[in-house]
Each structure stands twice: as C-alpha cells, then as structure tokens.
C-alpha cells in the first residue's frame, strides 16, 4: 500500500526540486509574548525534509506555542517562519495545504461517523468524488479502521479516535505532519500502538514529522530533539549525542534518607550529586570508577544503587535544572 495513488499528476502539486531533500521548516529569530509573558525567546531552528523531530520540554516550556505558530494558528510577535519554503504569515494558505495536524484536543466531530469525518476533511482540502472515496478507503485500510468506518466517532475508544485523527491529518498527503502531545489521554498500550503506526507511516512515506512531547521514551525515537525550557531553546541534537555529552554514566540512588546521603555525597565524596524526584542522581564517569568504595561506605543507608546510561531526562536536568514530568499525563494547552 502506498500513498501515491492519484492518477492525474499536476506539476503544480509536486514539490519543486529545490524543496525536495531540503529544509522543510525554517525558524528565524522567533519570539512570542502572551501579553507581558515571554513564551518563546529568540528561537532559531531548521528541520529537514523527512526528519522526525521532537520538541521536548515540561509544561509551559513553549513547545505547544511553537507548534501552533508552525500550524498558522498563532501570529508570532517577532521572527520569520517558513514551512516548505512558504511564509506562515504571508502564504498561510500554501502552508496549510502542506500541513497535516493532530491536535492534543480531539478535532473530530463526534456526531459524525468515521467516514463522514474523513469526507468532510477531504472537502475542506478540495478533494471530492471517486478520488476522495478511494483515498479514504486506502487510509481506512491502512490504519485498520475499515470495520469502524460507519460508527459515530463518539462511540470509539481514545486510541481509535487518535487513529482517526491521524487518518484525517494524512488524508490530503501533507508534506509536514505536526503532532501536539499525541499520547495525551491514551493508555500505554494505545500509546505504543500509535507510535508504531506513526513509525510505519514515516517509513513508508518519508513524511516530515514534528512532535511535541514531555514523554522521554517518545523523544528518544526522534532523529533530533529540541529541548525547550521557559521559552528558550536549550539544546538541539540527536538524542544519543545529547546523552553522550553528559558523560557515559548516571548513577541513581534510592534511599530513605535522601537529604543525608546527598549531603555526604557532596561534602565527603565531592561528587556532583543532585536530588531529583526523591532520588539521588550522580552524573559522570567518575561515579562508576568509585562505585566499589561508595558501596562499602553507603550501603547501610541506601536501598538501591543503579548505574546506567543517561536518559534524556538527565540531559534535560543537567542543561536546564528542570525536571520534565515523567509521570505520564500532563495537560499543556498553551505552554
């Protein structure tokens, strides 16, 4: 099954050679304020065609604001943003044509059936007739929704609704897919299924995908992630390279007396220990080498001593001093 199914090909609709394999999203000097509050400060970034790009940050970091600006929903205070070479402000129609968006809040009409929702979406994008019908059929098959096509959307489970949203966003063959916290409201199984599906879609179409998330395992899958904290771009790189920057290891220590152990690690051992969510973390290679001695001196006071590779969470903490919520759900509507 492929996405290229139309019979008539108009040269107008094929992206120019210059746009192919080139920059899909370019953000220059983007600043956005909500009144006095600065939500985004001097952001510069480029996202290449075919890239799977993550915007990672805690609630209120500005990632959803950035996504809304890319989606032509919000007028930035300052800066120049292009999508597929089109300016989001001056050529918003062309940008909208290139975009598929899955919002955090469901964008489906519950009173309409799955098929009707898709059909209306097609109409909004100027698609109709047999071509639209065939395209809807393809997507329903592809996303294994065919047997629910006639059901009203309000009767579907959260995971299925999200899949319909994805079908809706992909219907018009967008060049850039924007996903805002797509896992919101999904249970772990539905979440995994959704990400697997997204992976398949990317593999098959080479679609550029930009996703906001505060979930670290999701960000780990991205080619590159941008770490946002308080509206600032803290780092932007391959997740593996970001982790490598931190040094090889992170030790996690669970204890009933975190304050005491933390104090001793810092004062007696001179280690850069930090307290995160009631757990002590020590970053860097040194802790591995000194592990036997540490174990000997600390074992009466600690419940667990674990050494492993750093996670994106460790990276984020080291770079910003903030902890990203690791506890699943978080509402982030204007953050």
């Amino acid at each position: 099954m492929t996405l290229q199914s139309g019979q008539t090909t108009s040269p107008m609709l094929v992206p120019s050679a210059a746009a192919r394999g080139a920059t899909m999203v370019r953000v220059e000097g983007l600043t956005h304020r909500y009144g006095e509050r600065v939500a985004l400060r001097m952001i510069d970034m480029e996202i290449g065609q075919g890239e799977f790009f993550g915007l990672l940050g805690p609630n209120g970091s500005g990632k959803s604001t950035l996504l809304r600006i890319l989606g032509t929903l919000l007028r930035p205070s300052e800066g120049r943003i292009t999508v597929g070479g089109h300016d989001v402000l001056r050529e918003s129609a062309a940008v909208r044509d290139a975009l598929g968006v899955v919002f955090q809040s469901p964008g489906l009409d519950g009173k309409l059936s799955v098929e009707e929702n898709l059909r209306f979406q097609g109409y909004l994008f100027g698609m109709r007739g047999a071509m639209l019908k065939r395209r809807i059929g393809e997507l329903l098959d592809w996303l294994t929704l065919a047997n629910r096509a006639r059901d009203k959307v309000e009767t579907l489970s959260g995971g299925l609704k999200r899949r319909v949203e994805l079908a809706k966003a992909l219907l018009h063959q967008p060049r850039l897919l924007l996903l805002d916290e797509p896992s919101t409201g999904l249970d772990p199984a539905a979440r995994q299924a959704f990400w697997r599906l997204l992976g398949d879609i990317r593999a098959e179409t080479g679609l550029t995908v930009v996703v906001t998330t505060h979930l670290l395992d999701e960000a780990d899958d991205c080619h590159r992630v941008a770490l946002l904290a308080q509206g600032q771009l803290v780092a932007m790189d391959d997740p593996e390279k970001l982790k490598a920057r931190l040094g090889m290891a992170v030790a996690r220590i669970k204890t009933r007396d975190p304050e005491g152990v933390l104090h001793r690690l810092r004062e007696e051992e001179g280690l850069p220990a930090e307290l995160v969510d009631g757990e002590i973390r020590v970053t860097g290679q040194e802790v591995v080498e000194r592990m036997p001695g540490l174990m000997k001196r600390f074992h009466p006071d600690i419940d667990a001593f674990q050494v492993g590779r750093p996670t994106l969470e460790d990276v984020f903490l080291a770079m910003t001093g903030y902890v990203i919520s690791t506890h699943g759900e978080g509402e982030d509507t204007n953050g």
Binding site: E51, G107, M127
Partner: protein, 272 residues
C-alpha cells in the same frame, strides 16, 4: 538529520480544486447534519413555533386587547410577524453557539488549519444557522391559517425570503460574537442582554408610530425592526411593486456587514 534520499518524499499526487464552494457547502451540510442527528434539538425547534402558535392562537390572543384595536383577529395579525421573528431570532443567533462548542472540542482548529477561505467558514456556519431559523419560521408561517389568519402562497414565499434574510444577519451577528467568546455561558449572557431589547424594540409589541421619540430612534437603528416591519407588510402577500424593498435593502446590508465582520475576525491569526 536523516538521509532524505533513502525514502521517497511524499509527492503530492492528488488533484485539488479551488474549494470555496465545496468547503462552504460541506461546513453548511455538517451544521444541518449535526442538527438532524440531535433529536432533542429537532424536537425543540419544531416544538417552539408550535408552542407559540398555540399560545397566540388561543387564550393569549383573546385576553390581550390594546385600546384602539378591535377584535382578536387584528391583534393576532399584528402579533404574528413579531412572534415569527422572535423564534427566528433566537434560533439563528443561538445556533452560533456551535462555534464555541467546535472551538472547545477542537473541531474548529482542524477547520482553521485547512486551506479553506475564511469566508467559507463564516458562510457555512451562518447559512447553517439561518436555515434552521428559516425552518422554524416556515413552520409558523404554515400554521398561520390554523390561527385564523388568511393564508396566501405568495405571502408565504415573500415571508420566507424576509425571514431568511433576517436570519442570515442575526446568525452572522451571533457568529461574530461567538468567535471571540470562549464560554457558552458568556455568550448566553451577552446575547440575552442584546436579544430581549432587540425584540422588544422591533415593533413586535407596539408600532413605532406611537413610541416616544428616543425609542423611535433606537428602533430605527434596530435591524430586527426592519425584519418585523417587512414581514408584517408581506404576510398576506403583496404585489411586487408594493414589496418592502427599503426594509429588504436594510436587512441585506445588515447581513452583508455582519458576514464581513465575521470574515475579518476569522481571518486574523490569534495573538494569544
């Protein structure tokens, strides 16, 4: 950065058309479809004119007789256009609540990010609301003979035209308010504040001629006044040369201005 040459880029192969009409029609059709799928709304919208008809046609009509008006028939004749407009006004304006609902439910975001001309978004909603208003107006107009009012096919047709034009303006007014309102309660509060005086001073209850000077000015500025006035003139059918063209032009201008206001509001990306 990934190797973009390894995977085929998603080349656009599906043909597109200019989608103004298609988008407008589909948004309009969705409004109607949603209405028909909510049984309580259908029942309510048919029931309201029936209720008004029952009240106007029976006890209410007999018990109220202002001085100078002899006979229940005259009074009903006087009251009838105002009643029709009351029903139409509420339906047309409150149908715009769906804008707020669509926004809160997220559906509107999906429409706004589509490459749809903003005027399609406005017209789809407004024509949807106006159609529901017209539907209710028609129920009442068709019931007129059962109220003891003379029936005229020409009057029905002319009345429907006036009702539709009024409903478009009112629905567009509702849209413009609803676009910037984030709560249904807030919309209700503002609209009630606006609707009741609008109806009371439309000439539905008392003719403009007898009113105090300042009330007259307010009535002249009230678009609904022209709707009631025009409907009153055509309710039994009039030849084309007697058709209330002045009122029709005012109603048309009001509809145009409110629709354009909606387009302007919907066309601006939000700042917050």
């Amino acid at each position: 950065m990934v190797d973009t040459t390894a995977t085929a880029p998603a080349v656009r192969t599906l043909p597109r058309r200019n989608n103004f009409l298609l988008a407008t029609w589909s948004l309009f059709y969705r409004e109607v479809l949603r209405f028909l799928r909510q049984r309580n709304r259908v029942m309510g919208s048919i029931g309201t004119p029936l209720l008004f008809w029952a009240m106007l046609g029976s006890g209410f009509g007999e018990s109220l007789r202002p001085p100078g008006m002899e006979g229940a028939l005259d009074y009903r004749t006087f009251f009838f256009p105002g009643t029709v407009m009351l029903v139409v006004l509420f339906t047309a304006i409150f149908s715009s609540i769906s804008v707020i609902q669509d926004r809160n439910e997220g559906f509107l975001q999906g429409v706004v990010v589509a490459p749809v001309p903003r005027i399609s978004i406005v017209l789809g909603k407004v024509l949807g609301g106006a159609t529901l208003g017209l539907l209710q107006g028609l129920v009442l107009l068709l019931l007129a003979p059962l109220m003891g009012l003379p029936f005229s096919a020409l009057g029905l047709l002319q009345g429907a035209a006036i009702v539709l034009l009024t409903a478009i303006g009112m629905s567009a007014l509702g849209f413009a308010f609803a676009w910037r309102t984030d709560s249904v309660q807030g919309f209700h509060a503002v609209m009630n504040l606006l609707l009741m005086p609008m109806w009371l001073l439309s000439g539905a209850l008392f003719p403009v001629e007898g009113a105090a000077q300042w009330i007259r000015y307010v009535m002249m500025a009230n678009p609904l006044h022209y709707g009631v006035n025009a409907l009153r003139q055509v309710q039994h059918g009039v030849p084309m040369e007697a058709f209330p063209w002045n009122e029709t032009v005012v109603l048309g201008c009001f509809a145009l201005v409110t629709v354009l206001l909606g387009v302007w509001l919907a066309g601006r990306p939000e700042k917050s």
